[in-house]
């Protein structure tokens, strides 16, 4: 530990910390642009200069290591002046086009000007004219006039993805970011550059000119598109009175999580978000003579419970087939285990997941569901589908379907369903299966659920619902809980499960892996 004084405040901080981090630890924010915690300090923006007693020059907070007895001033006259000059210089060549800039509202330069700048411009010269829309790759546009040359983008590609597509070209005031010839930024992490850019120089083609950032509400959730289960934010637009928007979710962003994804997410996860709104099933549908008719959730759940109970009483539960997927939460899978493994004996459990894709040896895994590990640990042990030994004759089929990016993997079910007299489909998205089943129950996506998943590395993450459920959709967990209660085989168990926390609590008692993992 080292004793230092920052702005008159005496503190003890860990040895080896930079002044920036030491100040941060006691809630003093030192403005910075080129520094990003994922990279070693660069020291080029010169915004984080602070005064250290006994040193003639101002020193960089981002790279200077604290030493015993250091007396640091982050708000002195000299520091504020130096800060103001850096901002004045950056803004001298930066276009004041905030009103049409996608970064406005999220922009560090804009914020710092408000906080530390507020000077009148003395720059009467002509600003450099530069290219305003340089495509850097399939997802990114660079505005060179807005660029402040912090080189975060260059360093990300050099040090994190190690693909090195970008560099600084030319010199002095003509310095500019560009990709090396024939090497645009098309790696699977390109979208991070738009987030990393502290100003509006690199913007995301997907988000450009779509909305203003201050209209958006950010909610934390988990990316469900692979088994890494990265922490993300969903940014959605709550809408205006009397104005219909054609979109609800506008973008996904990485949410800092040093355990799993640091500050990054992959492009596959980032740009595949239209599934949250497109082709959703929003009402309960019952197939009557080839026609899908709307019905009530409670009624159909009750009916399902009744049918299950009948088979249970007739000791024909081996005629029940249940198809699961591993995008269900731990809590849901645990309830499924309780009902289909413990309450009802000999039920045939199968697993159908979206087909594997290509992993990228970093965040993106080949499996495309977030809770494969959770399913394994909970011990449901579903069979592969179709099973090697063929089927018993099934009297009932319950399908928990998951097909956010295409339902091709359920094609194999069609011939089986023709033979089954009663079938129920839980699905969040429309599918051709809907015409083949008896009842369709609208289900939820991970972003609309509360619960937990375990990622490929065995890290448990809990989350709350980020988005409201659409229409009459309910979570699979809610359905399972109702079914369990309606069956009444182990009524007291289900009666005590009042929240996802209750379920996870019980799960933790049952399965040692979960013990002490939840918060």
């Amino acid at each position: 530990m080292v004793k230092i004084t920052i702005d008159g405040q005496q503190v003890e901080v860990k040895e080896g910390l930079t002044i920036l981090k030491a100040a941060e630890s006691i809630g003093i924010e030192i403005p910075h642009l080129c520094f990003h915690p994922a990279f070693p300090p660069e020291g080029s923006c010169r915004l984080c200069l602070v005064e250290i007693e006994g040193r003639p020059k101002l020193e960089l907070a981002c790279s200077t290591i604290v030493q015993e007895g250091m007396n640091i001033y982050t708000q002195s006259e000299r520091v504020r002046e130096a800060r103001q000059v850096v901002l004045e210089l950056l803004l001298a060549e930066h276009p004041p086009d905030c009103p049409i800039c996608d970064k406005a509202g999220d922009c560090h330069l804009q914020d710092y000007y408000e906080e530390h700048g507020l000077f009148d411009s003395h720059f009467w010269e002509n600003k450099e004219r530069r290219a305003k829309k340089v495509p850097l790759g399939k997802n990114l546009i660079l505005d060179r006039e807005r660029c402040i040359l912090c080189t975060r983008c260059v360093r990300f590609l050099k040090e994190i993805t190690r693909t090195g597509e970008l560099g600084v070209f030319q010199r002095g005031i003509h310095s500019e970011i560009d990709y090396f010839p024939g090497q645009p930024v098309n790696n699977n992490y390109s979208g991070n550059l738009a987030e990393l850019c502290p100003v509006g120089a690199i913007t995301d083609k997907d988000f450009r000119f779509q909305t203003r950032s201050w209209f958006l509400v950010s909610k934390p959730t988990i990316c469900p598109h692979c088994s890494r289960a990265c922490s993300i934010y969903i940014d959605f637009h709550p809408g205006f009175p009397r104005i219909e928007l054609d979109k609800y979710v506008y973008r996904l962003r990485a949410r800092e999580n040093p355990e799993i994804n640091d500050y990054w997410i992959c492009d596959f996860g980032r740009y595949n978000y239209s599934y949250l709104e497109k082709n959703r099933v929003v009402s309960v549908l019952v197939n009557r003579d080839g026609q899908l008719q709307e019905d009530e959730w409670d009624k159909q759940i009750e009916l399902l419970g009744k049918k299950l109970k009948e088979l249970y009483l007739k000791k024909r539960t081996n005629r029940i087939g249940v198809i699961l997927h591993s995008a269900l939460t731990n809590e849901e899978l645990y309830l499924a285990k309780k009902i289909f493994r413990e309450d009802l004996p000999e039920v045939n459990l199968y697993l159908i997941d979206p087909p594997e894709g290509k992993g990228d040896n970093w965040l993106l895994t080949s499996s495309r569901t977030p809770n494969l590990k959770g399913m394994e640990l909970i011990g449901l042990n579903p069979q592969k589908f179709p099973p090697e030994n063929g089927f018993n004759e099934l009297e009932m089929m319950i399908i928990f379907a998951y097909h956010p990016l295409g339902d091709g993997h359920y094609a194999q079910l069609k011939s089986v369903l023709e033979e089954v007299p009663f079938s129920v489909l839980f699905t969040a998205h429309q599918t051709t299966l809907m015409n083949q089943v008896t009842v369709v129950l609208p289900a939820l996506l991970l972003a609309e659920k509360e619960g937990s998943v375990i990622n490929v590395e065995g890290k448990l993450q809990q989350f709350k619902a980020a988005l409201h459920p659409p229409g009459n959709a309910h979570s699979e967990g809610e359905a399972l809980l109702a079914i369990g209660r309606n069956l009444g085989i182990n009524f007291s168990f289900y009666r005590n499960m009042r929240s996802t926390a209750d379920i996870l609590g019980k799960l933790s008692q049952d399965i040692s892996f979960f013990e002490g993992q939840s918060d």
Binding site: G43, A92, H122, N126, L149, V168, R171, I173
Partner: protein
Amino acid sequence: MAKKEKYLTGLFGLENLHEIEVYLQNGGYEAAKKAVKSMKPEEILKEVKAANLRGRGGAGFPAGVKWGFVPPTADKPKYLCVNADEGEPGTFKDKYIMSHNPHLLLEGIIITSYCVGIHQAFIYIRGEYEMIARRLEKAIDEAKTKGFLGKNIFGSQFALEVVVHRGAGAYICGEETALLESLEGKRGHPRLKPPFPASVGLFQCPTVINNVETIANVPFIIARGAEWFTQMGLPQDGGTRIFGVSGPVKKPGIYELPLGTSLRELIFNHAGGMLEGKELKAVIPGGMSAPILTADEIDISLDFESLKNAGSMLGSGAVIVIDKETSMLDVLQVVTKFYAHESCGQCTPCRVGVSWINKIVQRMAAGQGSPEDLETISRLASAIMGKTLCPLGDAAAMPILGIVEKFKDELLAQMGH
């Protein structure tokens, strides 16, 4: 008499001095032989420290102290980089040393490397010095044939290779850490310090970086001793300096003089005074980055401390003489254009600040200036001072501030105020 000796340049002009046989006939490589065969590295370091050999590149940092920063034992290789990227406007002394007497530099490299425990040295030479680069390469081959470089130097266990690397024309690559980046094959951007090159330098290994003239002094310190060296100049500032005089003087060129010679003496005695009909107005005493001195300020001793106290610096010893007919606005324009052009663009104050000043000055030169512009220039230059990533910011700001302060009236008059 000893005080007048030109030990560095005395042999210049001798026919074929750049060839090893001629150099040997004139006592060449004796110092290296003495060092490698009969001295311990610690003894050499002690001698160089005692000699107060200050860096000749510009900053004047004591060479012995710099060498002493290199960890004596390291699990990594150590490197020597000779900075021959002579880019400071007005400076042309290293060019003379390397073209006239390349073996003197090699001899200095051998002693330095032996002292610090280095087995690989680089000469980073500016790209324009093509003939000199070839001459150095030839000299290296000759020295190798003689057993002065390569393995078992002078029959000892000491081994050393020297490689000549040509720069590509950027002023910034003369800054030591930008030089290292460039040598590693990267864009010549200065590094954030600390760590300093002595601990983390070329390819992340401990590295000594010295100017050509600094290294060329080393053989003389070894041959004649630190005491002789300090007597040559000033006690805290030993040896001679090679001053390069340019401008409207009768005899522009290089002059090797002991440190402590007065600027007036250099211009009016050695360089022969002003050309007929020209009158002295100002002098830039140490390369373009050194703040300007007026004609009244030239009775000053040419050494690091005296010039520092006068608000300027000895720098690279390049003395640029300016006469009365030269417009200071033109001078200012040349200065700002140069630094705006040569700013690497990495840090904000230098990239935007110097370019902004240059834009103002160019506007002033086009007859569109106003008195407030001078205030803006001074404010910006002061804001750049001491706040940039590398010394280039100061190098640009100092001469600009000097000119604007000392020639304010002339600049205002030229703008019609």
